[in-house]
Symmetry: C2
Subunit: 428 residues, 2 copies
């Protein structure tokens, strides 16, 4: 595909105007102000469009789309015990397949080209994800409460099977991370085993960390150290790790993130909706921690529009710190794109530059809320709407264009997700 006369956001998040951008073999092959000699096939008129790197959703639970709007306005323990767990107990393979597809569709609509997910029924998820054309670092949520025969547990075996069967599937679109659900849901022995396996297979790790004050403080009581120190001491951070939430982390934890290159997947919407707290983002930005953005699951968000998290990420910490200069639009855009790809070990994505994978989006800038165009980065973060995305492309393949899905049967995904939700609700 050849994009003609298109503005794009370069790697410094500055606008470059009126370019020709050619896509070939899944990569950005040409950028210039002159029309290229080479024939790139289909021509895309870029007028009133802005191309930028697609977004990365660095922490989600895609099938929880089934739970959107279920169990609202409850305290965390009642929400989990009375609503979420009983619902999840009724999940089926076909419900997972439909909701994963719908989740991919929603993410694609709002410009996400790659996401990092942690849930169960993972091989079913893998198939839906591959079919949708999106990229994903998938992990199987691992909760183990006893050391005895843990290797025989389904969750543990699933982690291994997923890695064996799906690592680098779809020409590398699917990558498998190993998972520790959290400190309070696993044992030290299991953490060590996963750390060791991650090292021997050289794969990334995806965990929850210090989401709630309770979780953080109870770990200190149990182990005499914070969750971050606990994981670091057990060797888990020796492999690239994405730690979701990190709301209650302390200064020493941030030093550990720095030392080990841990990515913090910040989930500003979910943390607010569940009243978990506010992560110390300005401090972590100052220390140079790689901060990416996540939506978390639909049950606590209630959408998979990463642009809402981008928006809140660039607003919230001004309010919380009382300093309107913290978290700039460019820092927020970096968190939503480049930092997410970095967390996934996808260093060949995240920039509009020659040689990078064509994991890109085009946003409609010809809408009232994007005028005047005094500061495009600022408009993108604070004024653009997720639904103004005109085109989503992954590995050079168009997945979504002007409201149409090219890889997903969206009517089927909507209808089946509704049907499975209704069926589960009837059982509760």
């Amino acid at each position: 595909m050849l994009f003609e006369h298109i503005d794009y956001l370069d790697e410094n998040f500055e606008v470059q105007k009126n370019a020709f951008i050619g896509i070939k073999d899944g990569k950005i092959a040409y950028i210039g102000t002159e029309k290229p000699q080479e024939d790139f096939g289909e021509v895309y008129n870029g007028k009133h469009g802005l191309m930028m790197s697609g977004f990365v959703n660095a922490h989600s639970h895609a099938p929880m789309t089934l739970l959107r709007g279920y169990g609202e306005n409850l305290p965390l323990d009642r929400w989990l015990n009375e609503k979420i767990f009983p619902f999840e107990d009724k999940l089926t393979d076909s419900a997972i397949a439909a909701s994963t597809t719908l989740a991919c569709a929603e993410m694609i609509r709002f410009g996400t080209v790659s996401f990092s997910d942690m849930y169960f029924f993972s091989q079913t998820m893998a198939k839906s994800i591959l079919d949708s054309g999106i990229k994903c670092n998938l992990s199987r949520g691992l909760t183990v409460f006893s050391d005895q025969d843990y290797e025989q547990l389904e969750a543990y075996k699933d982690n291994m099977d997923l890695l064996k069967n799906y690592q680098n599937a779809g020409n590398g679109r699917l990558k498998i991370d190993l998972c520790i659900h959290g400190e309070y849901t696993t044992t030290p022995k299991v953490v060590e085993a996963i750390a060791k396996h991650a090292k021997s297979e050289n794969v990334n790790v995806h965990i929850h960390l210090s989401e709630t004050k309770k979780e953080h403080e109870e770990c200190k009581q149990r182990h005499g150290k914070t969750p971050a120190k606990y994981f670091a001491d057990l060797g888990l951070f020796d492999q690239p790790t994405t730690a979701a939430h990190c709301v209650w982390v302390e200064d020493e934890d941030i030093e550990l993130f720095k030392k080990y290159g841990v990515t913090v997947a910040c989930n500003p919407v979910s943390n607010m909706k569940l009243a978990s707290g506010f992560a110390p983002i300005p401090k972590m930005l100052e220390k140079g921690i790689n901060i990416a953005l996540g939506t978390d699951g639909c049950a606590s968000n209630n959408n998979l529009n990463i642009m809402q998290d981008l928006y809140l990420f660039a607003l919230l910490y001004k309010g919380v710190t009382g300093d309107p200069t913290v978290v700039t639009p460019k820092q927020a855009l970096s968190a939503a794109t480049l930092n997410g790809f970095k967390s996934q070990g996808r260093m060949d994505s995240g920039k509009i530059s020659v040689g990078q994978k064509a994991d890109i989006i085009v946003i409609n800038t010809d809408v009232p809320n994007m005028y005047p165009a005094t500061d495009i980065a600022c408009n993108l973060v604070y004024a653009a709407q997720g639904s103004d995305i005109k085109l989503t492309m992954v590995d050079g393949k168009v997945l979504y264009k002007d409201g149409e899905y090219l890889t997903i049967d969206i009517e089927k995904a909507k209808a089946q997700t509704q049907m499975h939700t209704d069926a589960i609700l009837q059982q509760l």
Copy 2:
């Protein structure tokens, strides 16, 4: 117009399914499950649409659309003195006309059917607003720093002229409020004069109140009382008053709001972006204060999409208080609709019921982010996108449908706003 087979949100924010709704003479004339005998003219297929009351933006500065993305990430005093004031000093009538029209277009796109505004060049604004078809309670920002000959000041005379020339223009679409910009920008004598005039003309009042800690504390030093007590004692609250921000109000101030029926126009985005603080919303809701929602101006938001404020209003205070049960979706929807109309003295709008003015919107529910439809109020608040609004109608007249404006020359508004912004920036 006759809406067929449409779902709608009733006055309890519950969904009623598959209705026929007839519009006649600017009002909702029929609601039923049977097709009416009467001919209502054009038929609208309501399948996959949800009708609800349009939104009210209870505090804005529409022409500040010109300043979108200008002067970002600065502390408040530098932002005002180095950026906002010098820019505003260059404003012209034609810049105001274009930007007011663009602001109306943006509000209409995102489902706002009525807004309360405070700015200058008000008669120019009045014309643009009337042409757009939207409703507005317009006020001329009044700042007066000395008692001497204040009645001769342009800002004071403008308040009076605007009232004289435009009250109830456009068949009541335009209403004029009197204005006190704030305690720190006016004198007691002027406040008393406006209070007296508002009473004699029986009009509403629009003010800024306790937006920043500095403003709130300095008033207490100056007058020995809070801004709310100061205004109440000067008789300003004897007429229905909309007080914007109210971030730093104290318990006694909330009692005064209750006593006088003052509406609080909460601006969650602006307050966060400028790091002004968090208003004590849960406490005010508990006391039964009429809380409406505002975007504030584009310079501190940076959009006029009230659905973003609705979203934040229903998220933020959970995070701030640590209690996930505060501010329910229905409370938020009420703030964004009915409470706003109430603040404007428009008791004939805000509900989908027979006899109400047809100030309504239709939202597309057939998008991935609205499935499953387990809890529609919740989906509307936390998952819907402003740009999924398919239709905006004011007084029974369609202003916007499927992306097209019926009363606004949108290409002209965009181009002229861009041109005027560029011209002003060149002078700075």
